[in-house]
């Protein structure tokens, strides 16, 4: 490793987003993967998945997390542990003096978020939660706002709806009875989708508006998957937000099924300004391609990943990409989220999606779940007594 390279420790492996983050970090010439580790008390299945991923990458597996964090050749840790463990591990990494790259959302607990922020700021290390804020189409939205082309920003409407999973199995006909605190865990067949996907849309709203959220109205639903319903986790949700200065925002987040979109999903931003409005779509501009070849069909269901959460399990069932839409590349520079973070480290500046911002998004999400459960608007900040930890 050269003096210009960062040594990267991975925490958690297969069947986590580490499958993607590790490859993006490895692709950056400023990074070198040093090894993979995790907490010592994780279930044997998790240890096995971690060891498998270390073998996939041809890097060592370190069974003792403390020893791994003590290594001098580790400068940055990519934390993809389960949602409940993420915040406390991020704090441990910072306490060890390592930069922290953490999966989204950073934690479902206010106290863990506060501890992670405190540890990171105390140690003076850099931090970033994964987001889609640096995708070219989102940066285009940012340029529109900053250019003043639509006048003062008045409202933002964002949809992040992923077309994955075998939909059509949920039992319909009655409103979902939301609970607070929500169930936030990664099961093999279900996640809390407003939490896991809605966080992207919230990241857009906060970045584009630059304003604090004052109040939240939330609603969650079980529209598509019996698996989510059986675990009392929503597959879909929306938030209606009031921001400082009377700006409003609405977001949707959810998993809507393989068949419900010609590409990866409905990912769009509608910006409303005092002098105009503009609609941006992750899949536009685009080519639409129709041919007499075999139509795309959903992949065979992998029992280890029936919803299509992970890359390796979808590779196992030979999942094929949809081919109807070919999005045109943006003229704006498109960077991976990981490379943006490496820039921040080398340029000694804070990421716009640092741990403090990640903690803020956790608070907005929890306010949304609380609103859905109580049927009323919830004002921010949340009382710390509301922490589900």
């Amino acid at each position: 490793m050269s003096s210009q390279q960062l040594g990267v420790l991975l925490i958690s492996g297969r069947l986590t987003h580490q499958e993607n983050y590790a490859l993006n970090l490895r692709a950056d010439p400023r990074c070198q993967l040093v090894g993979l580790s995790d907490e010592s008390d994780v279930p044997p299945e998790r240890t096995q998945l971690n060891r498998q991923f270390a073998e996939d990458l041809d890097i060592p597996y370190f069974p003792d997390l403390e020893e791994a964090l003590a290594r001098d050749d580790v400068h940055l840790v990519s934390v993809c542990a389960d949602p409940e463990r993420r915040g406390r591990i991020a704090a441990r990494c910072a306490d060890a003096g390592k930069h922290v790259y953490v999966d989204k959302p950073m934690t479902p607990y206010l106290s863990h978020a506060a501890a992670a922020v405190a540890a990171i700021e105390r140690a003076g290390v850099r931090s970033q939660m994964f987001s889609s804020n640096h995708q070219a189409w989102v940066q285009q939205a940012r340029r529109v706002v900053e250019s003043g082309a639509i006048g003062e920003l008045k409202a933002i409407h964002v949809d992040n709806l992923f077309s994955k999973g075998p939909n059509g199995t949920a039992k319909l006909g009655t409103p979902r009875q939301a609970i607070y605190p929500p169930v936030i865990s990664n099961f093999v067949d279900a996640k809390a989708e407003l939490y896991a996907i809605g966080v992207y849309a919230l990241g857009f709203v906060c970045m584009l508006s630059g304003r604090a959220v004052e109040s939240v109205f939330g609603s969650t639903a079980n529209y598509f998957f019996a698996e989510h319903q059986n675990r009392n986790m929503e597959d879909f949700g929306f938030l209606s937000l009031t921001l400082e200065g009377g700006v409003t925002a609405t977001i949707t987040g959810g998993r809507i099924g393989w068949a419900s979109h010609p590409a990866g999903g409905a990912n769009q931003i509608h910006l409303i300004g005092a002098e105009g409005s503009i609609f941006l779509d992750a899949n536009r501009p685009r080519l639409e391609v129709y041919a007499n070849d075999q139509p795309w069909t959903p992949p065979e269901i992998n029992p280890r990943d029936p919803m299509g959460f992970w890359r390796t399990t979808q590779d196992e069932v030979n999942a094929q990409p949809k081919r109807t839409i070919a999005s045109l590349p943006s003229t704006l520079e498109s960077r991976t989220d990981a490379s943006y973070f490496i820039d921040c480290i080398f340029e000694e500046r804070e990421s716009e999606m640092n741990a403090r911002q990640a903690a803020y998004l956790t608070e907005i999400l929890l306010a949304g779940y609380k609103s859905a459960a109580e049927g009323r608007v919830v004002n921010l900040p949340l009382l710390r007594d509301d922490d589900p930890a």
């Binding site: 609405t250 409303i272 409005s277 009323r376």
Partner: protein
């Protein structure tokens, strides 16, 4: 002016065909108002269409935004569990709209930079009777929107569309 009757007809026929399964969620954002004064009635009209497409009655609504500022949003939760998220803003001489209807087994999308003009209604015909019915329901919805905006809280509705 705007005219969503053709859109409504095509959407309704598509939903009736059953390809996307039971309609569950309507996401509709429109930059279509000619002036601030018609924002609330337009939003209530969009709500009436959403009710038609979802074949249900909202049990609770929550409105945000400001007609004076030129933008309103409306969240609706329905008796049978469906929901809708609607937004209206000024056209600024460049009308546009984006509509998504999520069904249990598929989805309908419509994005257009052209919001068609409203045709003159024929006096005494079924269109007028439908319009009278719509006016009644939209007036109740406008009142509910006003109440939610004032209270900054959701408003429960009775099955008849009155504020509960």
């Amino acid at each position: 002016m705007y005219d969503w009757t053709v859109l409504d007809q095509t959407v309704s026929e598509t939903l009736a065909g059953g390809r996307v399964g039971a309609p569950l969620f309507v996401r509709w954002t429109a930059a279509a108002a000619q002036n601030n004064a018609e924002l609330k009635s337009l939003l209530a009209e969009m709500s009436a269409y959403a009710e038609t497409w979802l074949s249900g009655q909202p049990r609770r609504i929550y409105a945000t935004g400001s007609a004076d500022d030129g933008h309103l949003s409306l969240a609706l939760e329905f008796e049978n569990g469906q929901s809708a998220l609607l937004a209206i803003t000024l056209a600024h001489d460049n009308p546009s709209m984006s509509l998504a209807i999520l069904g249990a087994r598929g989805a309908i999308y419509h994005t257009d930079s052209d919001v068609p003009a409203r045709a003159e209604n024929l006096a005494g015909g079924p269109e007028e009777r439908n319009q009278q019915s719509t006016v009644l329901s939209t007036s109740k919805m406008v009142a509910a929107i006003d109440k939610s905006l004032f209270a900054k809280q959701p408003v429960a509705l009775s099955p008849e569309g009155d504020q509960a």
